[in-house]
Assembly symmetry: C2
Homo-oligomer: 1008 residues x 2
């Protein structure tokens, strides 16, 4: 637009647009709220069965987001524009997109994406599924299908659209920061909002009195209780809001520990629930006056004109089948999971239905899950159905004639009595049921398929109350050129699909509408959807993205690193990719690289760009488009976003580095580790004792010991720095950076970072001994303490991440190859706990870690029996166990091993019941084979003992013993009558059997 609208003009247009679409225009609330959601017009009106459509501006206050007006678009007060549509009108996304056009945003110029973002408010007992809507990478709207509020399930579901008004206006006006926004044609945003912003930040972060705020909170809570007791919805709600706002202030002042937080939330949630229940009761008493006369709400499905066609003539030849499940944007993980599930389920269903086919292809995009079956048989294979009847003696009389019983059975089964077959003393009715026509079966098959799909989180959206990942909006189902008619979740199948968003964007449609295209027959689907610019094949799309990103980086002589997870996610954020190269101010390269990368990947799904391992001031983003008309607009938008993000990171970084890292330590007392185990500061106190102890067990030298000690003291301090509070994933990373900035040694800094390793499967392990020691100590402390207080992981819940901790212990030890006694380590950790740690608990913990070791070794490919054999001896020492496993695995693969093992086993078996070790007594040997075996044993024992790792020598030595053993057993009877002779023989054989004792229990091996 040549003349972009002022902010107040944008509001006016939104009001006009939504009023025209049936919304009541409401006012901002008379309390400070964190979001428009807390306005009763949302949080209460979404409850109960009545319809409600509303739109309003809401100045929203979030203390934590305050940046003293130094960030381009992050403020403690921002303006939301809130819309509630209850029930779902069927085309809420399209209505929303239409509103963007209404305020002058030309969608054809921009990259608009719906990126999964689920919302929940623990304090309000509310949650919903939906997206962030991204405009050129900037989050401009939070879009949610409200599933629960005030701890009550919502029926009908409400669509909640929350525009980030300031950001949208910033974009419309092509400003680099909100402060430059033209508010009314006269004043800038800065002119009217900057002073209050700075003042509120100062108040929130520096002036607000914690004690007084706590008193306020208590009073608000008491008044809310009084109001609830009296049944007063709004007054009670106001006091809950005041609690919430006071809580946010306390939080911004850093005055709330973890346990306290939970208590606050529980209190607010209980009151919010009570308020919600009161509201619903109030409406119920009024007999839900806004319900239509018939008591049910119409939930629409947009301009869905897809109707089932009339029953089709059955196809006679194998024909292709195509199902497209059209939905609002699925979360990327659900696209992957959806494709997998569809593949498995369709395969299974077709088999169950005895339907043969040529090939099965399943793929998808964020808005389509597609099944394509070629040469699908026109009918099921015929089926023989056999039913057992009476016994022969009851079915036939002495004359061999069918009895009444046989006749009755035959009649009941609808076969001729003479056609009964006899077998195994029974008669059988056997029917050949002709296969049904595929066209008849497919509707149910489609429904069954859809019913079967499960996702991590699901939502309801219309009166069908069906749950799915996101609303299903259309279904294309074709068998050949015939529609497979069925209805699911209120949507009827047809042959009309919808175009991609980027096609809608350029189509110039009226609000609420979308582009469509018709698929004439199943086989033309892929051409038709390609025609729309959609790259339907997921693998191909992924490949293409990788190429595009690489090419974009190459345009500045850069490279991108492998980012498989990011690539995976981006693949399912677009229906067609277009990579764009953007840049940012070089000055931000001074920020720690992990911060730069973290921000790009976590928040923006950008690919970072490097040259010779050094980051460039560039990034690659992937737009949902086949050909952007104005790529420079989209690039500029994305650059604005990263600018704001980096400005934010810079703000934190500067703030954090005004103080030494150690000065943050005392604040750890506000972070609860576990109610019974104290705060994070308490944990640090334990680590300061335990970590050096562990280091000693790892044979640390004096310098390493000193580093461990210092690192332990600082290990958790970064948790209370702004950067880590904002981006938890940077814990340890910022610790290292800040430690170096604070003048700590590189060893200390490294240990701080490394002690969190590995953060996930496949992550790196500590490279330094101090890092290893601290990492082990941290995890052992958690394991010993939490098991002792009963916080033991269950099948479904592991809130403290103990599985990960145990795995970390194991993997770190495996990676370093260092010997370490888990049991001793846990005992040392137990000794520092503020609670008694029982022997049982300790044993249970040790076993828990050993089970992880077992799993890891199995995952590494060691045979089950090898692992068992090794663990029986070296389960307490992961590195040793792995060495043994390796050796044993090689051993059992040695040529001729089986014979050698058989020989060894004779020794082991014959002596395994001996209670004690008998003394060798060569003087009592009667046969030469005895002395031969004795000599061979002594040679083997010396060889094993002389090896740095007994395990590696074992195999050869046991093989060397095969001949002497066999010769021995051929000649002598071990259990001789003469006691002295017997004992001498037993002693020798016993020694041979014990040769692997330090390595493994070979009796666990297969073939023993």
């Amino acid at each position: 637009m040549s003349n972009p609208p002022s902010m107040q003009e944008v509001i006016r247009r939104l009001h006009e647009y939504w009023a025209a679409h049936g919304c009541l225009i409401w006012q901002p609330y008379s309390e400070k709220v964190g979001a428009g959601t807390m306005n009763p017009a949302t949080v209460l009106r979404v409850l109960g069965p009545e319809p409600w459509k509303v739109a309003y501006v809401e100045p929203s206050f979030r203390a934590d987001d305050g940046r003293y007006a130094e960030n381009p678009n992050r403020m403690q007060m921002h303006h939301q524009y809130q819309v509630i549509l209850k029930p779902d009108p069927g085309n809420p996304q399209e209505l929303y997109l239409g509103s963007l056009e209404a305020i002058g945003l030309d969608r054809a110029k921009h990259d608009i994406r719906f990126v999964e973002d689920n919302w929940k408010s623990p304090a309000l007992g509310a949650w919903g599924l939906g997206w962030e809507v991204w405009l050129d990478g900037q989050e401009i709207t939070q879009y949610t299908y409200f599933q629960q509020a005030g701890s009550l399930p919502l029926d009908p579901v409400s669509v909640e659209i929350t525009y980030g008004l300031d950001r949208i206006v910033m974009y419309l006006q092509n400003k680099k920061q909100v402060w430059d926004i033209d508010v009314d044609g006269v004043h800038t945003f800065a002119e009217v909002y900057r002073d209050p912003e700075i003042e509120n930040c100062t108040y929130n972060f520096e002036v607000a009195d914690v004690d007084r705020l706590k008193q306020l909170y208590a009073i608000y809570q008491a008044e809310a209780d009084a109001c609830i007791k009296r049944g007063l919805v709004i007054p009670a709600h106001d006091y809950v809001l005041r609690q919430s706002q006071t809580f946010n202030l306390l939080d911004a002042r850093g005055a709330i520990g973890v346990t306290e937080r939970a208590k606050f939330f529980a209190g607010m949630r209980a009151q919010a629930r009570a308020v919600s229940e009161l509201y619903v009761k109030q409406r119920e008493r009024a007999e839900f006056p806004w319900l239509p006369d018939n008591g049910t709400l119409e939930t629409g499905n947009g301009k869905q004109d897809i109707r089932p066609t009339t029953p089709t003539p059955y196809s006679l030849l194998p024909t292709s089948f195509l199902l497209e499940i059209g939905s609002e944007e699925l979360p990327s993980a659900d696209v992957v999971s959806g494709i997998e599930q569809v593949q498995t389920t369709v395969t299974k269903l077709l088999a169950e239905q005895r339907l043969t086919y040529g090939s099965l292809r399943v793929t998808g995009t964020p808005r389509r899950l597609v099944v394509y079956v070629t040469e699908l048989a026109p009918r099921q294979a015929d089926e023989l159905i056999e039913k057992r009847g009476p016994t022969l003696d009851r079915a036939y009389d002495s004359l061999g004639q069918p009895t009444k019983a046989a006749e009755g059975f035959a009649k009941g089964q609808g076969v001729d009595v003479n056609a009964l077959e006899t077998r195994d003393n029974y008669v059988y009715a056997v029917k050949r049921v002709a296969g049904r026509a595929t066209a008849e079966i497919l509707p149910d098959l489609c429904r069954t398929l859809l019913e079967s799909l499960r996702f991590e989180m699901t939502m309801r959206w219309n009166s069908s109350n069906i749950a799915f990942s996101r609303p299903v909006r259309w279904l294309v189902a074709l068998y050949g050129d015939q529609v497979v008619p069925f209805t699911w979740a209120g949507v009827s199948s047809g042959k009309v699909s919808r175009g991609p968003r980027f096609a809608d964007a350029v189509a110039g449609l009226p609000p609420g509408e979308f582009t469509t295209f018709t698929i004439d027959q199943a086989d033309s689907y892929f051409d038709a959807v390609a025609q729309q610019g959609v790259m339907i094949d997921r693998a191909q799309r992924q490949q293409r993205i990788a190429e595009l990103v690489k090419a974009a980086a190459a345009s500045v002589n850069g490279q991108t690193t492998e980012e498989p997870e990011l690539l995976d996610e981006v693949t399912d954020l677009v229906e067609a990719p277009q990579a764009l190269l953007g840049s940012f101010e070089e000055k931000y390269l001074e920020l720690p690289t992990p911060v730069l990368i973290g921000v790009m990947k976590k928040h923006q799904r950008y690919f970072p760009v490097f040259r010779n391992g050094k980051m460039l001031p560039n990034f690659v983003t992937v737009a949902n488009a086949n050909q952007l008309a104005y790529p420079e607009v989209v690039v500029a938008g994305n650059e604005g976003v990263i600018r704001a993000r980096y400005a934010d990171a810079n703000f934190f970084y500067r703030q954090d580095t005004t103080r030494l890292l150690e000065s943050y330590t005392p604040r750890l007392s506000t972070l609860t580790f576990h109610e019974k185990l104290g705060s994070m500061l308490d944990k640090v106190a334990r680590l300061k004792v335990l970590a050096p102890h562990v280091a000693e067990m790892l044979q640390a030298d004096a310098a390493q010991l000193a580093a461990v000690q210092r690192a332990a003291a600082l290990a958790k301090s970064d948790l209370v720095t702004s950067m880590v509070v904002e981006m938890t994933s940077l814990q340890g990373i910022m610790g290292e950076t800040y430690a170096l900035k604070s003048g700590e040694s590189s060893a200390v800094a490294q240990a701080i970072r490394e002690h969190y390793l590995p953060r996930s499967a496949g992550d790196a392990n500590p490279a330094s001994l101090p890092g290893l020691a601290l990492s082990l100590a941290d995890k052992l402390d958690s394991l010993a303490g939490l098991f002792a207080v009963g916080a033991i992981p269950t099948g479904s819940a592991d809130p403290f991440g103990l599985r990960r901790a145990a795995l970390g212990v194991v993997n770190n030890l495996l990676a370093s190859g260092t010997d370490f006694s888990i049991k001793a380590g846990l005992a040392a950790a137990a000794a520092e706990q503020p609670v008694p740690v029982s022997a049982e608990a300790l044993a249970e913990t040790t076993a828990f870690v050993e089970r992880r070791l077992q799993g890891v070794l199995s995952d590494l490919g060691y045979a089950h029996d090898v692992v068992e054999a090794v663990l029986a001896v070296r389960g307490d020492n992961p590195a040793a166990a792995q060495r043994a496993a390796l050796a044993l695995s090689e051993m059992v693969r040695r040529p001729g091993w089986n014979d050698a093992f058989t020989a060894y086993a004779r020794c082991a078996r014959i002596t395994r019941n001996l209670a004690e070790q008998l003394p060798l007594n060569p003087a009592a040997y009667a046969e030469s084979v005895e002395q031969h075996l004795h000599d061979a044993f002594e040679h083997a024992a010396a060889a094993i003992a002389g090896s740095t790792e007994p395990a590696t020598a074992l195999g050869a030595q046991l093989q060397a013993l095969q001949t002497p053993i066999n010769a021995y057993f051929d000649k002598v009877l071990v259990n001789a009558e003469d006691e002295q002779v017997r004992q001498a023989r037993q002693a020798l054989v016993q020694r041979v059997a014990a040769l692997p004792a330090a390595v493994a229990d070979l009796s666990k091996l297969q073939g023993f």
Copy 2:
């Protein structure tokens, strides 16, 4: 309109209208506020020199106004629409009226009036002058020229327009109550606002916990202080608002006494001031960025195209002069005062200027003050100026020739030395100065006149910073057909006047414009203004209103009572009157009549209608119109207003009468009478002792005593009833009503009402003895107590109304004619005070009351000397004093009185220095005249003593003594040589002189 706009459509149109007129569209505030004024967009932005135009909706919360949704238009939450125009654009009223048209209100159909209403917020240290805008009797807007905020004077002044949005919409939609408003085309006002309204009322009045609220208040105050200390404007302001809202809740709970209230206000005011100062400093530091580059603001004067004409040729003949001072609506009292002042000042100025004229006519309407002078001389009368020079002997030498001194003097005075005149031993220079042309003088004269006008309250509105009652918008000044050119308060005189509002209303003008008409010459003014439909003559307008009201009442066979004050006020609320008869529901006639009348007159300026002394369910209102197009619309509107008012009164009445009157008494402890004298409950405790004592002094019988005692206990209880809290003027009246309802005797009830009498000059006095006793006791208690604690009235301040109390004591005693000793009464009152009352204080109090008695008697027409004579003897007993004054006045008018008085005076003078009274000693008489006088004296003394009122007998007796006295002095020498003889003579004369002793001190009479 056939299809009235929904409420949200009205808001949309207002936004559109004011945005088009340069306003920033702002959001409601994120705190609960009592009015849009408290939004920082008003209360802070009006400070300092920068321009600011803003418009916004403000849901406004006033706990006290809650009626549980039972009132048609009064709620604890109502919507304001707030507009701030800074500086005054010159035509703000017209812009405002244009906005009414914009929202679909056809002004031609309605009666719109600007009724004086000044606004102040003691808590915020803010005030302004302006009006309520009435639409058919309903207050729809508060319109204020903001003069001060945060205790800081405002320069420039802001125009604040506060629409009562709900009421306006109710009118537009022709609804009888706000609850029926169509909010958005779907929902009614009741549907979205009724439940919250009822709940908030319940919370505010019943649930809110006083202790907790007080804690909240203290915390808010402390946080505000912390913010102020840190210089944080908005955070501090928020906490002041929270205090204010908490205060309102406490007040609604009845938890705030008078002293406490003052303390709360002082605290908030101090903080509001600090916040304001911080804001101004903040803007100053930023160098007032919104100021235009030249640093000064343009203040407009609408489309004022009146320009001074070129200098006029002098008129040669006596010609008429006309000055019309055109302004926004003056308060009615200022119209009266303005007319009086103009009359006096113009008379004085013309005399000073030696301008002769035919007649002077001064009159006016709310928008015009008019001076019309006929036959104003074209020039001043010539003037002789005489200057005295040197003495003759210094002016002329011995030859009679002028000296150097004479020549120098003559030269200095500009006369020929030979023209010097001689007189009284001096020379004189005499000059005749020709009178200046009137046309030259008139501009200054007009300016001087305008400068001289003084009003009770004045305001500034533009950069001239001139103060006037309301903004002056145009000036018509004509001498004959020539404009008298001058500029005042930014307005230049001309010959163009403005039409009345009702002409503008039908003219269909663009927003901000107004009708005008041109006056060709001074003499055509009255015709021209009459042509506009304006009834310019105030007396005529008043007369016309009286007739119209009478006629309207007669149309329902009713009469109106004399309501001179109301008539006076209504006269200056209109430029042309049209009386309309309205009606209300008969059921409201069950409310006490004083309530009905009070509401009508106080709030609505309606005339009540009676038939045979009984009220009819009718009223008469007077519209500002010469011929309403749709009188039924205006009537309906006014009926809706009175309906809401009576519903409100009914609400209070029902609420109050759920309990006995005596049950309210304990709550009086929350009303502070005076810090040192305790609460109202303490006062009642004193009255329970004092009032019976006073009654005894008034010779009450047992029944009367009992009534006084009971009435004293209940005298103040109605002060805490809802009705009296709402309408203070009903104190006592409701007490009587509620006492009767509570089963008290009529004597008790009557005494309760009567104890407030007289409420003002000319008001009734108590008719019953219990009423009189209680009334005296109440006032004596106040006088004795407040004088004792030093709360003594000064020339300008009498916060406790002690002058009125003293006057009340005097007038009540005069009216009842009962003897009563003020001194004894005050002593009895003093005995009950909680503080010591010194003898000096008591004497001062007594003297204070006596001075009122002196004033009252003088006002009654008694001669000064008579009053003095009487007060010297009977000043302590008003009734007796009046009797004496009456008698003395008659006495001095008796034929021959002077001779009799001369005779009496001889007696009085000759004995007045005697220290003691001498015994009569007839035995020592030497002459017969002595015995004659003795006999005459004894006769007179007996006659005086035998009279019920000695005063009435005095005159005749003194006249009867004239002859014996004169004969006596002719014959005898009083101061005889012989001591016995002398003393006998002195004794006799002394007795004669003492005859008036119980009546008056006749030595004070003229002629003594």
